[in-house]
């Protein structure tokens, strides 16, 4: 994704005249990518095309054989997705959710990864513990949190009250002022391990002699972190963030379980699912799925362009 900063790692050897050596290397490369491509095309190609085709029709879930081609009506028609205020509010919700939660997860994940990377006796335990939130199925953990955050019989309110942090129970998932942040909090709780584990792997691969050199030079730890560790693990962090962002932009289970169909927190995926399944509007739903896809593409492309520029600027 990003043009590599690590020169020692860069496989790229620009050469004006491509030798056949290089060509055979490239042939090998294509052969090696082929299985992945074939699998992906096979399982994703047809469904994706179909979705896009449906988005141009008025198909209904009840009977997919009876449909009419309606062109871009589902997108820009009078009742098209792009004219639906609910859609745009879902887009706004989702973007807000993604940006905040991915940012928090990255920061916390980094912190946790650093903890995990510190040799100590409790490390094994910690590593297993940290992964637990990620291991519990989302549906279950969302329900669990709803349960725990309930203002009537939720244990969190009781704990917070007994610690004296709040004086009356908070309706975390019902109070419109709190729901959004509650959802983000739960998402952060759940997916920080994902970030942490990937970053830990990246940390493990930083050559140790760089640290030694910095230690001897007396570089303060914070600087070592920001100038050596961070740049070296940055590619991995960015990839982790991309995948987190992709997931966050498609967030569904969590919001669906915790706040059902409330407009205040409805995400793009909830919207899509609602149209596609609950409302039977396969045509319209597919159109909104496609728009969701485009939003994600735009977002990712923008993000990558941004990080690439930043990384080259360093």
């Amino acid at each position: 994704m990003t043009s590599q900063t690590l020169t020692s790692a860069a496989p790229v050897r620009p050469s004006s005249a491509e030798s056949s050596l290089q060509r055979s290397r490239q042939r090998t490369a294509w052969l090696l990518v082929a299985p992945a491509l074939v699998v992906l095309l096979a399982i994703a190609g047809w469904p994706l095309l179909r979705t896009i085709w449906f988005s141009l029709t008025n198909a209904q879930l009840g009977d997919l054989t009876q449909l009419q081609f309606v062109g871009l009506d589902n997108y820009i028609g009078e009742n098209g997705v792009l004219r639906d205020a609910a859609w745009w509010s879902a887009v706004a919700n989702t973007l807000r959710f993604s940006v905040i939660s991915v940012t928090l997860e990255t920061l916390l994940g980094l912190g946790v990864a650093l903890l995990l990377n510190t040799p100590s006796r409790v490390r094994t335990l910690l590593r297993a513990a940290v992964l637990v939130p990620w291991a519990i199925p989302t549906i279950v953990s969302a329900k669990m949190w709803s349960w725990m955050l309930n203002d009537q019989y939720g244990v969190i309110n009781v704990l917070l009250q007994s610690l004296g942090l709040i004086d009356h129970p908070l309706a975390f998932i019902a109070d419109p002022d709190l729901t959004f942040f509650t959802i983000i909090l739960v998402d952060v709780w759940k997916t920080t391990p994902f970030m942490a584990l990937l970053m830990l792997a990246a940390l493990q691969m930083v050559p140790s002699d760089c640290y030694e050199a910095a230690r001897v030079d007396g570089v303060p730890r914070l600087r070592v972190f920001s100038h050596i560790t961070l740049p070296l693990i940055l590619p991995a962090v960015l990839v982790a963030m991309v995948f987190r962002a992709l997931d966050a932009l498609r967030v569904f289970d969590l919001i669906y379980v915790m706040t059902s169909n409330s407009r205040l927190t409805k995400s793009m995926s909830v919207y899509v699912r609602e149209q596609l399944v609950d409302f039977q509007q396969v045509g319209f739903g597919s159109a909104s799925a496609t728009v969701l896809f485009l939003v994600i593409v735009l977002f990712t492309a923008g993000y990558m362009a941004f990080t690439r520029r930043r990384m080259q600027g360093v």
Binding site: G62, D151, A171, I173, A174, T259, S262, E274
Partner: protein, 402 residues
């Protein structure tokens, strides 16, 4: 032959269903296999649509929610030719609900309606009578809540119900609106009727509960959350379905023996008792390889004999009026006799007329209600807006027939 029967998710409910089905199998010498579906009815519907949509013969007989006949009608078998008039034994309103464009697509299986649970002991303690209108109920709830809290029971709330933005809220709100004579959102002819002062008044009444006699969290309550509060002894009134009765009277329940049941209050003296109709039906897939046999199984499962068994072992409310007089049943669930009028006059949601658009209608309705409840919108505005939205959904009005 082997039939595949879908009657809910594994658990006590399914066991009761399986008992009857096995009974039938033994009698007729066929085999019945059970197909499980998720507990969550949304997921259940999605799965069924996916399966039926692909013309799969993996299911012969399936259970469907009271609001689904309109949605699934195309995939279901018309039972008229097989029923030989059996449907006439059942509540007419439900049979009407299950008849789409003249086809009987499902047979009633058991019935659910909203009902009001209350704490007999608390009302007795303060010498209060069971209220009949919402205002009375509010007053009673307020009084008991205040007194009890003063006495140190500071977790007590007056009234809990289902305020989450989901189908349950549609049921609750429909009850309020109907009880104030505000109609049923869309009338039987397909006309949108929701924007009217009575409906607005109904929503305003409910909105006032939030934060006073109902916890703020009620805005995210479904059935179980409400029951959780009530069953822990922390609420005076609760709106819920019949299932709560047996659960709350089990051993270990804090309110065992202290619970009374009554009809949902009227919207003022001019109003009426309105309870939303819920419950499940059985239907036969159009793609069944053995439609005749499947219909036979279905008819057995919905027969008086089977319904009686279910009523006694699982307190599933029968859909056959005659059974409400059956002494065995009354002995097992005394409230069934008491609430018979509720069952008989339950208000169906406008699903038959809106057919496949029902979910959209309901979704818009509960969202409007939720907005009002959470104080984000004024009731009149919200309803006017809802009216507009619904009219855009069906510019020419909803038409049942396809």
């Amino acid at each position: 032959a082997t039939l595949r029967l879908e009657c809910g998710a594994p658990g006590p409910g399914q066991n009761v269903c399986m008992d009857s089905a096995k009974e039938w199998a033994k009698k007729t010498g066929n085999e019945v296999q059970f197909v499980a579906t998720p507990n969550d009815s949304n997921e259940q519907l999605a799965l069924l649509q996916q399966l039926l949509g692909s013309g799969s013969d993996k299911i012969d007989v399936l259970q469907i929610d009271v609001v689904w006949p309109g949605i699934l009608a195309n995939q279901l078998l018309d039972l008229k030719p097989y029923s030989k008039g059996a449907e006439k034994q059942h509540f007419a309103s439900i049979v009407a609900n299950n008849t789409v464009a003249g086809k009987l697509v499902a047979m009633p299986w058991y019935i659910d309606t909203g009902m009001m649970y209350y704490r007999k002991d608390l009302l007795d303690k303060y010498h209060l009578k069971a209220p009949t209108t919402w205002d009375e109920m509010t007053a009673v709830a307020k009084k008991i809540q205040g007194a009890e809290r003063a006495a140190g029971n500071d977790k007590l709330w007056g009234y809990v119900w289902q305020g989450r933005a989901y189908e349950g809220l549609t049921c609750n709100a429909l009850e309020w609106v109907s009880s104030f004579n505000g109609g049923t959102v869309v009338d039987a002819k397909g006309k949108v009727t929701i924007s009217n002062p009575n409906a607005a008044k109904a929503l305003d009444t409910a909105a006032k509960w939030v934060g006073t006699i109902s916890p703020k969290a009620v805005l995210n309550f479904a059935e179980e959350e409400a029951r959780g509060v009530f069953q822990s002894g922390n609420a005076v009134f609760m709106r819920n379905w019949p299932y709560a009765w047996s659960v709350m009277n089990q051993d270990g329940s804090a309110v065992k023996g202290k619970v009374g049941v009554m009809m949902l209050p009227k919207g003022g003296n001019a109003g009426r008792h309105a309870a939303t109709l819920g419950g499940w039906q059985l239907a036969v897939s159009r793609y069944s390889k053995n439609p005749k046999l499947a219909a036979d199984l279905l008819l057995y499962l919905t027969s008086a004999e089977a319904q009686k068994y279910r009523a006694i072992t699982g307190s599933f409310n029968p859909t056959i009026p005659a059974l409400y007089k059956d002494p065995d049943i009354i002995k097992a669930s005394p409230f069934m006799a008491e609430l018979y009028p509720t069952f008989a006059s339950a208000v169906p949601r406008p699903s038959t007329v809106t057919t496949s658009k029902y979910n959209q209608v309901s979704n818009q309705f509960w969202n409007a209600a939720h907005d009002v409840l959470s104080g984000n919108a004024k009731s009149a505005d919200a309803l006017a807006q809802l009216d507009g939205t619904l009219k855009r959904l069906a510019p020419a009005g909803f038409v049942a027939a396809k």
